[in-house]
Amino acid sequence: MIRAAFEPSIVGFLCNWCSYAGADLAGTSRLSYPTNLRVIRVMCSGRVDPELMLEPFLRGADGVMVLGCHPADCHYLSGNYQAEQRVHCVWMVLEHLGIDKGRLCLDWVSAAEGARFAELVAEFVSQVKRIGPAGHEESREELSRQDFIWRVRVGMRVTGTEKFRWLVGRQKALLDDKNVYEEQLSGERLRDLMRTVIAEESIRAAIELLTEAGPMSVKDMAEALKLPARTVLEHTAYLKRYGFVELHDILGRTPRYVSPRYTQAKDEI
């Protein structure tokens, strides 16, 4: 059975001042923990861009850990808070895309918590094991490798959009302080807006990705994305207005659209 033999590969982003030191302490203390984790040292957990949280999945990772300092301990004052905001938003993206959000973990490890580090790694490895290999039909998501990669790519485009990044960036300030109208926004309202942005940008990203591969009709895209054609049409029209897709041809009664990137690529060939 695959499940039994499955050893997930995990990428961990560890902040230099707390978590990385914690990992070192685990070593000096000779604490053993699963071998699945591959550590990338960053100066602050706040350095980890939402796109970076997803990128490892494209390259074969089954789980991603982001570990930073405990609240208030951040060497850079509030980098860890930013990281927290981001991970929360990336979780929403993963949820929207049908990827188990358990594949992305955020936690705090101080320089003195070698044992905690070892525990957290062990826990996360077994958690990812339970979820199953990324992009495998027998995983909890039941997604094929191709499908999984496709979703991650959509997710990366979403996390790269201005709207998403602006909201992630503003989220904390908006919740801590009042908004421009001197009103206190509820967390729920912001989350609703974030969900809407993610939903819309995912569709647009998906349309772009599809049309980069070749001409597609609205109906074909709707089928591929399992979305109502009406919704796809609305977003295709939006993308066309701003030049992200172009009308390619009309087959019978059905217009087909293509990304200018596809056209460019073809021209170069």
């Binding site: 709207k163 602006w166 908006l174 908004n179 009103e183 054609a229 796809v232 029209a237 009308l247 217009p255």
Partner: protein, 1052 residues
């Protein structure tokens, strides 16, 4: 505040509040502002433009709605005497006519209107994208910071506070620092002398008509949504796609009367415009998506307006639009395909089912949702439908003096009717505020003209996409690139709409930035848009005449739609020619011309009298010329209106007021024989010939020659010559061959005098009365609909039924055209038991008479003048039963149409104004200049323009007066700078130019014997220049060099 005192000591404020910034509000505002009143325009939305801004094209000319409206939008936006107050509503009104105090409440925009450049960066980045775009009829999304539409006036964004989360991004991004989160609602009190309500209408929401599936089936859309689908600036950029899957539909169905003529939902009236707009959409859909089949499902085809019938015929025969007479029962969605299956009953009674890809619901016009609230704050009454209450003999006045109404808030109507009413209210308002004219207005001060001498031509070229009108055929970017290579061109760019307000600003910026000394715009026709761009240049300090246009739409992209390569080449040539001419242009001077402050009104019928009174009440002298020995015209034959007003009392009163008005000179039994001059300075000869035996020769005959000839001077002319009632000749319908066959107006005459016994001698005394519609209308000879006959028949039928309930009344019709709220009377007639029988278009009912003492029956066509007429019958094919009926009648009433007066031709030639193909006067523009002629200073009103009802005639007469007063009130007008000029050293004094000049503008100087041009008289035709033997005389603005430069550019 400056104010004028009236005799009574009460003050009159020289300002007006116009509520609503749609096409009606804009026209009223422009007319008022141009005739000396300051206008506040309160608009509920963030931009003016109203529904017309949302339309793609307009019927019956298929003009691009935005293109014809944009100049007015821009003019309103930058008129010195119009203050547009957006986002505002009226809270309360105090005072009375002449002196109202209005409290306006303005909702915050959160964007500084003055600072916002309309660049749109904020909207592009706004994270909130989920609000529905109302301008696109909810077919797309718009962000929280948005603009009503791309050409909006004012061109400033607004934040939708409902959806905005206040993240602050737009403020960060806005380079103009226009975002103003602390903006607050404010209240403002303004003083005005009068108020004009021009709030327009709301479209009916068809969700409640469950059987059509709107809201449930994505491919069922409203006509407004479809209009946006057709529009280049719409959600699909003008491509006809169906919302369910983005496919191009093969078959589109239009379902008429959704929310109209439907008593069940409380909208019993007809919305007046749907038959035409649906046909227009069906035609445009075929243009946008070749091969698509369009079908219109209708109950009665109500193409009653000027040029409408011909439009329907063209749609049917040239475009192949299919028309099916039925009321669609139900729409259901087909499984999987999203197609829709319509079930309907044919005229023959069979139930049909037919599948379509897309269904368009022709939704009706409703009073605006906040109409009742507004009426309450203005303390004016609504009618039973929720429109403002008006009287048919005073159609523009509300129930409160000093408050007027125009447009769809008065009842459903189309654009020309709205524009007509708008000019009409401007006149009514002007009449009550006469004493305060000019007291609050400001004059425009232009920057000093730049001295361009010695700089040499530096040309800037602006090429317009006109949405997809040009850009869809002509490769605009390549034209721009090409322009950059032309000699003297230092700058070139492309615009989505060069006529929009932001582009005007841009042009001015570019003039500064690049030191442009000439501007070339390549877009539509100079006939409509040249003044706008000239104004833009002048505001930037360039002389008006340093501007040149290349017509790459009307005469290029539109006429070479299937030849994009050749069209692009042609566009380049046209731009090249415009630049070649532009390089040679010189600054020209506009000379002020004094306006003779009096008007000549030709025709003393309802229209003529109303116009004359209005102009006189606005303080100008009026000469009213009537050929008949008494005033009244066609109106003398009518006795009551549909709603029961007594016409003769009204007429008598009107005529008395005209005759006794100190500023009106009435010339009865007189004719205009000649008119010369031009706007502001006309001279007419009138031959007065009456007071003899009352018989007046309609031709210029011997009798008139004996009359007294007078010459009058006047600044404007209003043509109100009326029309005639059609009289069947050669025994058609046995008219004038049988005593029991009369026309509708003869019948009305009889009804008014209490009975009709003389007609029905020898007839079955209790037999039915049969009315035959479309006599002399919509036939091969006269293709147009006479508009009034259906309502007239209904009116007289109701009257008759009330007098004699037991008598049967049959109305034989083709389409019942009781449009607007007249529909209620059609319903009433049916409730009273009047029977409506539809006959086929190609089977006109036949009238037959038996002959006394002879078993033979004679039908029309084979009856001579001399026979002894017995009882009559009408033979008609009933389309509903599919049978031929013979109805014995006590009386046959012919609803005869309205035909133009044959004297129109002579008047048209004298005034140099055109007639349409039917012989009615042809206005300057069917949609937006309904009472103007292309010739300045000449206007039209009443039946001379086209058949119309009494209230419409009154409105149009007011409108003609309103338009005329914009000229009279100005006092001086600026004459065009295009004049002839003589080079003295070249002139040989041969006098050829003197001979050819039709205006006596050129004469030979006594001393030097060389030609001299009188610039006040010169009209700028150039005849002298083309005649001169030695090239001594030229036409400025069209010199030989300039023309030949164009020729060279065009053919090399």
């Amino acid at each position: 505040m400056v104010q004028a005192e009236k005799g009574s000591g009460r003050k009159t404020v020289g300002a007006v509040l116009v509520i609503g910034g749609g096409i009606g509000g804009m026209q009223a505002a422009l007319d008022l502002a141009d005739s000396g009143f300051f206008v506040y325009m309160a608009e509920k939305k963030s931009a003016i433009g109203g529904v017309m801004a949302q339309l793609d094209k307009t019927f019956p000319t298929n003009d691009c709605s935005m293109c014809i409206m944009a100049p007015k939008l821009v003019e309103c936006g930058r008129h010195l005497n119009i203050e547009v107050i957006t986002n505002s509503e009226v809270a309360s009104v105090k005072g009375s006519a002449g002196d109202f105090t209005v409290r306006l409440v303005r909702r915050p925009r959160y964007v500084d209107q003055e600072k916002c450049t309309g660049c749109g960066v904020c909207a592009l980045h706004c994270p909130v994208g989920a609000a529905r775009d109302q301008f696109n009829a909810d077919l797309g999304c718009r962000p929280s910071i948005y603009i009503e539409y791309p050409q909006a006036v004012p061109l400033a964004y607004i934040i939708d506070r409902e959806t905005c989360v206040g993240c602050g991004l737009c403020e960060t991004l806005c380079l103009a620092q226009a975002v103003k989160y602390d903006d607050e609602a404010w209240e403002r009190e303004i003083e005005v002398g009068a108020i004009i309500v021009a709030t327009g209408f709301d479209a009916y929401d068809p969700s409640e008509r469950k059987e059509y599936g709107y809201g449930r089936f994505p491919n069922v859309v409203t006509s407004m949504e479809f209009e946006r689908i057709l529009s280049a600036s719409g959600p699909y950029e003008g491509r006809v796609l169906r919302p369910s899957d983005g496919d191009i539909p093969r078959k589109i169905a239009f379902i008429q009367c959704v929310g109209s003529r439907d008593r069940a939902i409380g909208n019993g009236y007809c919305s007046s415009v749907c038959c035409m707009y649906a046909t227009k959409e069906a035609v445009i859909a075929k243009e946008h998506a070749p091969g698509v089949e369009t079908t219109v499902f209708f109950m009665d085809m109500r193409s009653y307006g000027k040029g409408f019938e011909a439009y329907i015929e063209r749609a049917r025969h040239e475009y192949g639009v299919r028309f099916v007479r039925t009321r669609v029962g139900e729409v259901v969605e087909a499984l999987d395909t999203g197609n829709l299956i319509l079930s309907y009953e044919t005229e023959g009674g069979a139930i049909e089912k037919e599948e379509f890809d897309l269904v368009v619901l022709s939704v009706g016009l409703r009073p605006p949702t906040d109409g009742a609230r507004l009426a309450e704050s203005l303390a004016i009454a609504l009618d039973t439908h929720g429109f403002l209450e008006t009287r048919s003999l005073d159609p523009l006045a509300t129930t409160r003096p000093g408050i007027f109404v125009c447009g769809a808030m008065q009842g459903p109507k189309d654009i020309p009717e709205t524009v007509t009413q708008a000019s009409g209210v401007a006149s009514s308002t002007g009449a009550i505020l006469e004493g305060a004219r000019g007291s609050l207005t400001r004059r425009k001060i232009y920057p000093e003209e730049k001295d361009i001498r010695g700089i040499g031509p530096k040309i800037g070229v602006f090429v317009c996409h006109c949405g997809i009108n040009i850009g869809g055929v002509v490769d605009v970017p390549s034209v721009v690139e090409y322009a950059k290579t032309l000699p003297n061109v230092v700058y070139a760019e492309e615009n989505l709409y060069t006529c929009s307000q932001d582009t005007q600003k841009r042009i001015q910026e570019k003039i500064e930035e690049h030191g442009l000394t000439r501007v070339v715009v390549a877009s539509c026709t100079p006939r409509t848009h040249e003044p706008l761009f000239q104004e833009t240049c002048r505001e930037a300090g360039l002389n008006y005449y340093l501007f040149q246009m290349a017509n790459i739409r009307d005469q290029c992209s539109w006429v070479h739609m299937r030849k994009p390569i050749e069209a692009t080449e042609k566009a380049k040539d046209l731009v090249k020619a415009a630049c070649a001419k532009a390089a040679l242009l010189e600054p020209l001077e506009r000379i002020p011309i004094e306006v003779k402050q009096s008007a000549l009104v030709i025709g003393g019928g309802l229209a003529g009298m109303t116009t004359a009174l209005d102009i006189a009440n606005q303080g100008f002298r009026v000469h009213l010329v009537e050929t008949a020995p008494e005033l009244g015209g066609h109106l003398r034959r009518l006795h009551f209106t549909l709603c029961g007003d007594d016409i003769q009392t009204y007429l008598g009163d009107l005529a008395r007021r005209v005759m006794s008005h100190p500023s009106i000179d009435v010339y009865l039994g007189s004719q205009m024989t000649d008119v010369t001059g031009y706007v502001g300075n006309f001279k007419s000869r009138i031959i007065e010939c009456n007071k003899t035996n009352g018989e007046v020769n309609s031709e210029i005959g011997s009798e008139i020659e004996q009359g007294v000839e007078v010459e009058i001077e006047h600044g404007v002319v209003v043509v109100a010559t009326g029309a005639k009632e059609y009289a069947p000749s050669d025994g058609k319908f046995l008219y004038h061959r049988h005593p029991a066959v009369v026309t509708q107006s003869e019948f009305e005459e009889a009804l008014a005098s209490g009975g009709f016994p003389t007609f029905i001698e020898r007839q079955d005394q209790d037999g039915p009365i049969v009315m035959i519609q479309c006599v002399g209308s919509r036939d091969e000879e006269r293709g147009y609909c006479s508009r009034v006959c259906c309502s007239e028949a209904v009116k007289n039928a109701i009257r008759l039924k009330r007098m004699d309930p037991k008598r049967d009344v049959f109305i034989l019709y083709r389409d019942v055209r009781t449009y607007g709220t007249r529909e209620i009377y059609f319903e009433e007639a049916r409730d009273l038991g009047v029977v409506f029988i539809r006959y086929p278009d190609d089977e006109v009912p036949i009238v037959c008479s038996s002959i006394v003492g002879n078993p033979e029956t004679r039908c029309e066509g084979n009856v001579g003048k001399n026979y002894d007429p017995g009882p009559v019958t009408v033979e008609v094919t009933d389309t509903l039963l599919g049978e031929k009926l013979a109805i014995p009648a006590a009386l046959i009433v012919l609803s005869t149409g309205i035909v133009p007066d044959e004297r129109n031709k002579a008047i048209a030639q004298m005034l140099k104004v055109p007639l349409d193909e039917n012989g009615f006067f042809l206005e300057a523009h069917m949609k937006l200049r309904p009472v103007d002629f292309a010739t300045e200073g000449v206007f039209v009103a009443g039946l001379a323009h086209s058949p119309k009802t009494i209230d419409e005639t009154i409105a149009q007469a007011h409108a003609a007066a309103g338009r005329a007063c914009t000229i009279l009130a100005a006092g001086t007008i600026m004459a065009d700078g295009i004049k002839s000029e003589v080079t003295k050293t070249k002139c040989a004094g041969c006098g050829l130019c003197v001979e050819v000049c039709q205006y006596s503008a050129v004469e030979l100087d006594d001393k030097d014997n060389i030609a001299v041009v009188n610039t006040a008289l010169c009209k700028g035709c150039g005849l002298c220049a083309a005649t001169c033997r030695c090239g001594a005389i030229t036409l400025k603005g069209f010199t030989e060099e300039e023309i030949l430069a164009e020729v060279d550019a065009l053919i090399c």
